[in-house]
Symmetry: D3
Subunit: 285 residues, 6 copies
């Protein structure tokens, strides 16, 4: 499927600083599926927002961004889709560009993290989410969107993952946090400004959009009341790009059909615009 | 109808500390009906939340809660449904257990209050709501969801009812408050922490979920902008259980079909989980 | 999850003549998912229909039907879910009862067909569907809902599968039919009355509900205009039960969330009632 | 509430030949409520249809029709609403005009039938519906929309009610028909042309719009697959007006919110236009 | 906006036999707007149908079709959008290719008819629609979707327009037909097979999809009960292409957001596939 | 169309202090249309709110407000609709009454501003909105909802327009602000209290309801995350009426069909009640 590109992401691959690509996969979603439609919705609705950001006083039209379209992922067993995502992320990284992955369900993050971790062995993950995603398995499946951060931990090990906004999980997941395997701030993003890494530490930013309050972002499969506001998430995302060396990032779990008002998709477009501006700011300056 | 139980509410009646029961009735709803579907939606969707609460660091799986299912209430004239609700609440109270009533429209509260007031003559009501519900009658009907707190006042008399969050009513209802028959805090829940009762005063907690802002809880028949946030309501509910001797409680006016995103039902499940944990905390300790 | 039973299917397993069970799985759905919610919707809404059938002048209340509930199937890789479905179908068949499988996506049929074919080597399949489902693979996956009848053909071989109502497929699928591997009537069910088998030939009946016209059954993931009417499908289903020795059957691909009017689910409940009455008629007589 | 009038029904009461009035009541609806919104939706959407009928080659603009608006009925106990409907129907009948009642749920018919039967002791009822509505009571309530034709039978006695299109009911209801208390044609309207009455027999026509197939009319609370087509219902309604002396009629059970496409309301507007033209044709000629 | 192409319409302009282009304009829609989203929905959803047609035993993959995308039309005053549509149709006609216009509201037809009539002075129009669209003006506007066929009549004159399926209009419009200015078959398409033209008469085919029954095609702004079935429309469209020299055609008035089930869009994709196959059949043979 | 009046706005024109009128036009809407249905929705749903305001301790029942209904505006070219709006606003102003215009899209404001500016040459505009609406043209159209404030600037000149809450626009629009042609506060309403005008300066207040956060007001065509809260907007509106000499005002861009929960319409009703109370307060005192 020859999808439309994200607004203003009309640069060729070779010239691009950042490369958007979609992973429309949601087969392991445990509750309400539909995240597979997130990538197409974001591209389609992106023409309803402006290219100019009053937040950053910058314009996407001035940046070099390529939209590589959607991977054609088979539904069902996640092994092959994950390999395809890893391969695409690797291609972008190896070309010296910033991968911007759009989900799909959160499991797609694992493909991109594999590629990034192989190239950046000291990779850290900053993780915004309502859910811990730290289960060892879900009904016996280790490859589930409910386990994706645990799978990342399998790769990176202890002390490499920082979670913010978590407000749902099993007792076992909260015990896993308490044991120090990951660093978790429940409920809010408040302590992000005090987070610091050694200079040049490579960072993977993964944003499960359900970290937002369901009032602002109802279009997602597993809504959790008590979330963060758009303004808070936007500030946090910009802060991450400003202070850290982000090497890849993703936004996942938009399920547009669950929000007939369309505002969840509009919000996703807007925060993606802001992230792309922030991700390419360095190279402009 | 042999309904599913609320998640983890799988204890037998005799062993239970708290008993959930549903009153799927909404025949007097004056605006948009559908609260009859609230109880089934809560049970069905409860399997989408976790049993563990990061707010209270407690797990429903450790509590003894029975789900008695839904009463099979005839629609139309409310007299018989109210008697059936009263009878079921009485059965639970007489067994020394905590009734947790799920609506249905707000009128169902009257059945449970009748049972509680008969057994606790010095009963107080703490009432969270957007609407005063203090009308003498509605189009000539004294038994209407718009009159339910007035009917409770008929039973309990002056100075026994505390209302919070009220932001809609007729002039007559606000005059009734001003005359001191009930104690009303308009718009917010801010003064709840300063409320105190003599030790062991029995309290009935009734939560009309439309006290929440419609952005967070659109799934209700009569939405009123300017409501409270989930976090505020959660804190207030936990505060009531911690500081007062709650003898029964209810959550009413979820009309799930009015919120196709499903987040209202998810929120209702979550706050019911928290209330059940709080309601059974004492007995655990 | 302790689901409600289908209306009147409240007999114990041992006494039952037919056993309903659900397979809420839809991970390989290639277009719009949601069939996972079909089983719960059918049970829940079944209380909105009558137990009495004016078509057959019979009442479900007089039949012995057990509802075994839903299998708890992991999403993602279909291998394990298929094994679980096969195992449950085998348990029912080995107890001498009629399995009535509810999907979920069409791939779930494969689990039940495996169990039936092992016990009935001369099994025939009667298949009502809008889609041929005869692909060798879908984006490389052999286990996809678009391939399920081809996988059944792998087991049963040529000349054992009769398809009716097919109105969509690739050229390769229509070539496969034309080569005589399966017998296909496109567009209608008109030739069913002339179909005959040797006496006592065991038949598996699989009904993809999207064989119906989307006007009557919009609640399915891949709607194909030009389908059959409810009355035609009902007559055909009753004809199959009356004239053949059905050993197991299924109804699949109800995706209730795609039909906010609810009539697709109501229709599914009604045709399941009719099928259960027909399936147990012999034993009554 | 000062509702808009039905399109072209802008004649004063005194000059009118027919009088439209609404009964927005649905408190006894046993399944999905919302018929209370039917009257407002019909008026509002009537401005989307033409006043001219190509079926009858006639124009509403040439007829004298008054729209008396909606009765302000209290929800809950049906006794008072029924009395108010009876009183309004009586007022119209006593002025020598044709009452055209819009529901609301089917129970509202009882009010109008009471008024008509008192004035026309030899009244017959022609009843188009998917449901028999012949229960003695529903969960103990004799005044329920599921019992309305039985209540009419209480007034009129045996052999006075003709039902068409019925395709759902309990065994007891079908036994009641079989015993000859009412004359019922199941499933279709085919025998209507052969129905005849003694000249000048007064007829009450009640149309539960769910007699239509749910594909054409999804906007109703209890949808039954296998219904009649719009063209068939239109022909039948016109036939009744042409051949019988209709003294009053109603259309009930439009629940507009259950059909987000809006076509159910549009259809209701159209058939009401046709009925009003037919009802006033005599007086034009 | 760089839209996706219709499935398999991936040929370059120069090589193409037929050229699809979209006119996403709906500013004069008098009732419910949204037809502007029809073109994008058709392209996006076209990937949910097969390229192979079992009706014509032909495959789009074998045809040379170009998708020129959507014109970027300003909303508001229709004069400029019509000029842009005319210009694009002219470009395609002048290149010797078949224009396939997708609406948008029906007014867009006028642009394409202007281009076709200028090049084919003896042009005839075959018009499938529920509405006559013959008003002289609508609230004073001559350029309205309710007037589009009248505007075509202004160009072509008497006896050049054949209408089928019309079931709604004002008395004035039906008088205009009766006066013989256009030839109209109300309600059905039954007489199409008897229509004949002198050999090589150029024909413009315009299909307002609301000619279909709203049960099969609810996704349109002004639904009229009593329409034709998909099978009938498909046969008629194929008949037109087989027997006449079609020089251009359009499908208009899909308003996808009015049909949350999505089946209207799926039907539009399917009939467009069939029309494109029929339109390019000659050149294959 | 004889629309219902806004609740309690049942005073005759001559006696009224304020006059509500609707402009159901949305033909230039660039993204998702539907604002044409805003006026009818507000009137219809206004009967779901109380006439009493606990915010102002005042009751609409005590005020003299006339509802002049909706203008019957032709869709398409905006020139004539704007003239009709200007004419109606002029009629109300010339009668010494306060016009309260309901949209419709934001372009309708231009008609009322023309009338007000002609009568009050020193008019100022206070503008609450998410979007700057300062484009010179939109795809070549100068009369577009995206240009409405620029058109007002054409009339009033520099330094006469104050914008609040703006969070979206093109770089050119933000440059226009920066050049001082208008005074713009981005994102919030925080500086409104410090705004002051010379005594008796006439003020036109225009409220594009999408200034609200989409979580509270999803029912609008172009939603922008990061908006203001209802409480903030309400305070701001009351502040404007209290401190300034408002001569006319409007609320625009409610598109009710985009919010199936109905809370956007309910909010619009509530803030209109508050504005009408504030607008008529002076004359009461």
């Amino acid at each position: 499927m020859n999808a439309v590109n994200f607004i203003s992401a009309d640069c060729g691959f070779d010239e691009a600083d950042a490369v958007v690509f979609g992973a429309p996969y949601d087969s392991t979603t445990s509750f309400r599926p539909g995240a597979r439609f997130g990538t197409a919705a974001i591209r389609m609705e992106s023409f309803g927002i402006e290219t100019y950001s009053p937040y950053q006083r910058a314009d996407l039209a001035d940046r070099r961004i390529h939209d590589a379209g959607d991977l054609e992922l088979p539904f069902g067993d996640p092994a092959r889709p994950l390999a395809m995502i890893e391969s695409e992320a690797a291609r972008i990284l190896d070309a010296g560009k910033m991968p911007a992955l759009l989900g799909g369900e959160h499991l797609v993050t694992l493909g991109a993290v594999r590629a990034a971790a192989e190239r950046h062995p000291d990779l850290r993950i900053i993780h915004f989410d309502a859910h811990a995603d730290l289960r060892q398995d879900y009904l016996g499946n280790a490859l589930s969107h409910a386990c994706v951060i645990r799978r990342c931990h399998d790769i990176l090990g202890d002390g490499r993952i920082w979670q913010f906004g978590i407000r749902s999980g099993t007792r076992e997941e909260f015990d896993f946090m308490a044991a120090g395997h990951v660093v978790t701030e429940p409920f809010t993003l408040a302590t992000l400004p005090s987070l610091s890494f050694p200079e040049n530490t490579p960072v993977y930013l993964t944003v499960d959009l359900d970290v937002l309050d369901p009032s602002e972002f109802p279009g997602t499969g597993t809504q959790e009341a008590g979330g963060v506001a758009f303004q808070q998430l936007l500030s946090a995302v910009l802060d991450v790009f400003r202070r850290f060396r982000v090497v890849a990032f993703d936004f996942v779990e938009l399920a547009p059909h669950l929000d007939p008002s369309g505002r969840s998709t509009a919000l996703a477009c807007k925060i993606l615009r802001e992230a792309l501006l922030a991700a390419t700011a360095r190279r402009v300056a």
